[in-house]
């Protein structure tokens, strides 16, 4: 009885998550990541699996399923794929317990049989999930700890759109040094005002400008600090629309760019083809065209993509919650976080 209810619990969670993704009922990828982690926790707690191989299979299938539900969101599948690696590692540690050579490389030639049943594997995986969950919660704070290192006194910082991580970062920096912030509002959502209000409350002098004015103001900016939606496998970004242009301008004016990203944003996906296409989302262009002009735009195609691809050359430094790295180092982080499939 208890088993059945546990099983149905995770199935229900999975269905709910899928529906939210399909309908676009989510705001931040942080929320998606936490929900996915809870789902995985419920699965591991249930009795639906016997050995590590079944867990990994389920994780992979669920990751595929959630990606199909919303192609542009990578946070759920990132979390699940990370768990695959964690399960493998836990399995190997358990198996090699007591043996002298405990360093077993996961990419070694010998095929590992994951279908071996290990008794304590469940508690191990649950522990790992707990660690990951606390990492998720404290992501913004641990990134903000680096704020003092990078932001000096009297600097003018530019940021794009609204990012919770950047907000925490700037507030932390403002406790130590006086700084000013320019917030750039980018379409299609133009979400800068809330961030401006929040920063002003923390006694940071804020200016809110449109993305059209970014070029004019760039010469006065000392650094750019932005958040991103996803960090791609080549070190590039999938960030909000408008970022690529603004970062191009930053390169033109030689302004360093810091990207703050929590670990669940690191994705093993590459941008497709030479044209660097990314999985994008298109929303209603109601900001651009009034509904009352509807009959005039019968023959007009209107596009409002949400994301932008930013090539790795435009980023100076990534700050993850596990440390700061250059874009060229991302491949190593990927290797440590995800398994080679």
């Amino acid at each position: 009885m208890a088993n059945a209810s546990k099983e149905s619990q995770y199935i229900i969670l999975l269905q709910q998550l899928e529906i939210s993704l399909k309908r676009g009922r989510y705001v931040r990828s942080h929320e998606l990541a936490t929900r996915t982690l809870r789902l995985a926790e419920k699965y591991v707690q249930s009795d639906s699996w016997k050995n590590a191989e079944e867990v990994m299979q389920w994780l992979e299938n669920t990751a595929d399923r959630l990606t199909k539900a919303a192609v542009s969101e990578s946070a759920p599948s990132n979390v699940l794929k990370r768990l695959i690696k964690t399960v493998q590692e836990d399995f190997m540690t358990r198996k090699n317990q007591g043996r002298m050579h405990t360093i077993s490389r996961l990419d070694s030639d010998t095929k590992v049989d994951y279908s071996e049943e290990l008794p304590d594997l469940r508690s191990d995986i649950l522990g790992a999930i707990l660690d990951l969950s606390s990492e998720l919660e404290n992501g913004a704070e641990s990134i903000a700890e680096d704020a003092e290192k990078h932001i000096n006194a009297n600097e003018v910082i530019m940021t794009i759109g609204r990012s919770r991580t950047v907000e925490a970062f700037l507030k932390r920096a403002a406790k130590i040094n006086k700084l000013e912030v320019i917030i750039v509002k980018c379409g299609p959502f133009y979400q800068g005002k809330d961030l401006a209000k929040s920063l002003t409350k923390s006694k940071i002098k804020t200016t809110l400008i449109n993305d059209t004015a970014a070029f004019s103001m760039m010469s006065r900016v000392d650094k750019i600090v932005i958040g991103t939606h996803t960090v791609l496998a080549n070190g590039g970004l999938k960030a909000i629309a408008g970022c690529h242009q603004i970062l191009l301008t930053a390169k033109y004016f030689n302004v360093p760019v810091l990207v703050l990203a929590a670990s669940y944003k690191l994705s093993p996906e590459y941008p497709f083809s030479a044209e660097m296409k990314i999985t994008n989302r298109f929303v209603s262009p109601e900001e651009l065209i009034d509904y009352k002009d509807g009959d005039m735009i019968d023959n007009v195609q209107v596009y409002a993509p949400v994301f932008d691809y930013v090539p790795p050359e435009l980023v100076s430094l990534f700050i993850f919650n596990m440390g700061s790295h250059a874009p060229s180092y991302i491949h190593r982080l990927l290797h440590d976080t995800y398994t080679q499939t």
């Binding site: 006194a153 379409g187 002098k205 809110l208 070029f215 242009q245 002009d293 023959n299 409002a304």
Partner: protein, 449 residues
């Protein structure tokens, strides 16, 4: 010294007996805290202006460690000095805290960015002057200010029409000649009008031209009616030559640049650009148009579509619109970027709608030609390196109650190295060749604005 800090509302001091018995380190820490609180509560000036005369009220006769922060700007020493509290109040005792405290959160020092947008002295709206303004001018001014008359060319034409009206109805005041009287009155009116609405470059140049012409008119007595007719003719000629014919010339040159099957990205729509697009469609050239949209240009999109109604409906011209933030999404598939200019400068910079600099950079990065269309009468004898000198053309910046600034930047300057060519009514020129060309053509240095 310490009581001074106490006055400013710092945490309360313990009674003296406990104080004396405290450790060195603990007293230091306490003093540091007080100094920090004192700094937070008082501004620099306040502290300097408020000499520590309150030591007479010092309730703690023997406190071994000083807490007063050094007020002399420039002192950066970090040494700790031991001074008794009743020591002379004007002694500049040295700060315990780090001298970088000078830079710490001090809400009274101005923001670098906010001070860029502060209205300059002497530019305040003089309400009383509006009453001295000739009513048709005020009319035009309000329409320009509220964006009812859109587009630099139409604004200029409407202003010149109002000036013609003024000249027709002008009565020479006693004691001056027609020329001097009209010059002074017209200049006064224009100054007053500038307080109602911000002049665009086209308007400023037109007024400048007229005043220059007036200044050079012969001084001798003649019939007032002859003078008036002369001026009206000059204004008409200006409108026809510099504005209407110029647009036609630009369209002729521009047609060479629009080819069959082209994909053109368009921003900063002016009359010249609009006429070019319409003419190209009328000539049967089938091209694709990608309009870059921002929230401010919603109305212009409606205009464009209205004018291009027939070509779009029979698919000669295929139009798509993209948000400014996603211009990069489309730039690769475009063949060129076409923009209308509001002004040209001596250093080759082009003034256009805010965002053109950004788009020019994007197009340049992907190796697409950046073409500006600008009439020569919009040439301005300045060399701005960025948007700040253009403040006089932009409306007042108001600060919202929430204490963050949201400036409205309408124009910006595209540097000349990002511009491929500027199509003007005299020729197609590289942007930095304009000054030389104009000088040769007009044979004189243009009037400085």
């Amino acid at each position: 010294m310490l009581s001074e800090s106490k006055k400013s509302g710092s945490p309360p001091r313990p009674p003296p007996s406990e104080d004396i018995s405290r450790d060195d380190v603990r007293a230091q820490r306490e003093a540091k805290k007080l100094a920090k609180a004192a700094r937070k509560n008082k501004s620099f000036k306040g502290k300097l202006a408020n000499p520590p005369t309150s030591t007479s009220e010092n309730e703690h006769p023997v406190v071994p460690y000083p807490a007063q922060k050094s007020l002399k700007t420039g002192t950066t020493s970090r040494a700790l000095e031991v001074k008794p509290a009743e020591a002379n109040p004007s002694s500049q005792s040295v700060s315990i805290g780090v001298s970088a405290d000078l830079l710490k959160s001090d809400s009274s020092s101005p923001s670098v960015i906010h001070s860029l947008f502060k209205p300059k002295k002497g530019k305040e709206l003089a309400q009383s002057n509006v009453s001295k303004l000739y009513p048709p001018f005020y009319n035009v001014g309000l329409k320009v200010r509220n964006n009812v008359i859109r587009g630099a060319n139409s604004q200029c034409v409407k202003l010149l029409d109002a000036i013609k009206d003024y000249v027709r109805c002008y009565d020479v005041p006693p004691g001056t000649t027609f020329k001097h009287g009209l010059f002074a009155d017209l200049e006064g009116n224009m100054e007053n009008l500038k307080t109602v609405c911000s002049f665009s470059i086209s308007m400023s140049n037109a007024v400048q031209f007229l005043l220059f012409y007036l200044h050079n008119m012969p001084d001798d007595d003649g019939k007032v009616i002859d003078f008036k007719n002369e001026i009206l003719d000059v204004i008409d000629q200006y409108i026809v030559e510099k504005i209407e014919k110029a647009v036609e010339a630009i369209v002729l040159y521009g047609l060479e640049k629009i080819n069959e099957g082209d994909k053109i990205m368009v921003y900063s729509i002016t009359e010249a650009l609009m006429s070019l697009l319409v003419k190209a469609a009328e000539d049967g050239i089938s091209y694709e148009l990608i309009l870059i949209q921002t929230r401010e240009t919603k109305v212009e999109l409606a205009d464009v579509l209205e004018k291009l109604k027939k070509p779009t409906s029979d698919q000669t011209v295929r139009v798509s619109a993209v948000n400014f933030s996603s211009a990069l999404y489309k730039i690769r598939s475009c063949s060129k970027l076409l923009m209308g200019g509001h002004g040209l400068f001596t250093n080759g910079g082009v003034m256009a709608q805010s965002g053109s600099g950004q788009l020019a950079l994007v197009a340049d990065t992907y190796n697409k030609p950046v073409v500006f269309l600008c009439e020569t009468f919009k040439f301005c004898d300045r060399s701005p390196l960025d948007f700040l000198p253009l403040e006089e053309y932009m409306p007042e910046q108001f600060q919202t109650e929430d204490d963050f600034l949201e400036p409205k930047l309408i124009y910006d300057v595209t540097p000349s190295n990002l511009v491929t060519v500027v199509i003007t009514d005299i020729d197609m020129l590289p942007s930095n060749g304009l000054a030389a060309t104009l000088r040769v053509q007009e044979g004189s240095t243009p009037a400085k604005l």
